[in-house]
């Protein structure tokens, strides 16, 4: 007679293998879920730097990946909202995924956000995506002059900087978690050529 515990473990091991295969097929080199602290941020950028150094990545690409990773991780640690799931309350948590293909690096973050903040965030993202280089530069300079550092240390400059450094539009989605909170996904491409 089969032991139910064996089945459970077999199921889990299969899941791990599927997960691994799925990571490989999507060329994902790093997945993290949890609290994003400053220590975590430093660890991930050190890891990416070592990896890029080993792959002899062009120095411009290295610098852009570094920029985008720092801004994305600091966005989660500063802006991820609290949400409850079951008995747990999550705060400052999110997912962070790095993948790299022959053509580009792809950095994706996801974190909870209170629904009230979505219209404002959408407006900024739409504006940043619509502007050309010159207008992005003006917006950045203006934001630096006018914008005050918030108590969380953000200056509202991150999205503009990512868009300017990569030259790519920001890809984002909001998926409902509860009636009050959504999951905010942001993907940035860094072309390797």
């Amino acid at each position: 007679m089969a032991n139910p515990k064996d089945n459970l473990e077999k199921g889990f091991l299969e899941f791990v293998y599927d997960f691994y295969s799925s990571m490989k097929s999507h060329e994902i080199s790093l997945v993290y879920e949890g609290k994003v602290t400053h220590q975590i941020t430093k660890a991930f950028i050190a890891l990416a730097e070592a990896q890029m150094e080993e792959n002899e990545e062009a120095s411009k690409v290295q610098r852009t990946v570094f920029h985008v990773m720092v801004e994305c991780l600091q966005n989660i640690s500063r802006h991820a909202d609290e949400y409850e799931s079951g008995k747990a309350i999550y705060s400052g948590k999110g997912i962070f995924i790095v993948s790299n293909t022959d053509k580009a690096w792809c950095i994706t973050t996801g974190n909870a956000i209170v629904n009230d903040k979505i219209p404002g965030l959408k407006a900024i993202l739409e504006q940043v995506n619509a502007l050309n280089n010159k207008d992005l530069k003006d917006l950045y300079m203006n934001q630096m002059r006018e914008g005050r550092l918030t108590n969380r240390g953000g200056a509202g400059l991150g999205f503009i900087d990512i868009r300017r450094k990569t030259g790519e539009k920001l890809d984002y989605h909001f998926l409902p978690i509860t009636d009050k909170v959504s999951f905010f996904l942001l993907t940035t491409l860094i072309p390797r050529t």
Binding site: E71, M144, R145, G147, L149, G153, A155, L157, D161
Partner: protein
């Protein structure tokens, strides 16, 4: 005036504000956990220096990376120099950048556009 020296780390720049050695410099990386806390002593030191400055002030930025939160503080430092100049002082900013780093060069040129402070762009390899 007492010198302010802070060793650089993997996430914060080296700070040398030393009048005896005649060095005023920020170098390395700037992405500290809390930008305000890190730069508070730097801004205070410059504010104090402003009260009794040397005839010629040369300030060196030799950063290899700074995050967007730091970019705002850099503008705050430059704004202090702008005030010194309005007050009749001589200030020169030397903006050092790696010769293959267009973004860092452009960042310096943008700051030079934003404030009325003389900039000297210095590339290094």
């Amino acid at each position: 005036m007492e010198a302010l020296r802070i060793d650089g780390t993997e996430d914060s720049p080296q700070v040398i504000l030393d009048l005896e050695a005649n060095i005023m410099e920020l170098s390395g990386r700037s992405l500290p956990e809390d930008v305000n806390t890190f730069y508070e002593p730097v801004l205070s030191w410059i504010e104090e220096y402003f009260k009794n400055p040397h005839d010629n002030t040369v300030f060196n930025f030799k950063l290899t990376y700074f995050n967007t939160a730091s970019s705002k503080v850099i503008l705050d430092i430059l704004t202090q120099f702008e005030e010194m100049i309005e007050d009749g002082q001589h200030v020169l900013v030397r903006w050092h950048f790696p010769d293959d780093d267009e973004d860092m060069q452009e960042a310096g040129e943008e700051y030079a556009d934003m404030v009325d402070v003389p900039f000297e762009m210095v590339s290094y390899s």
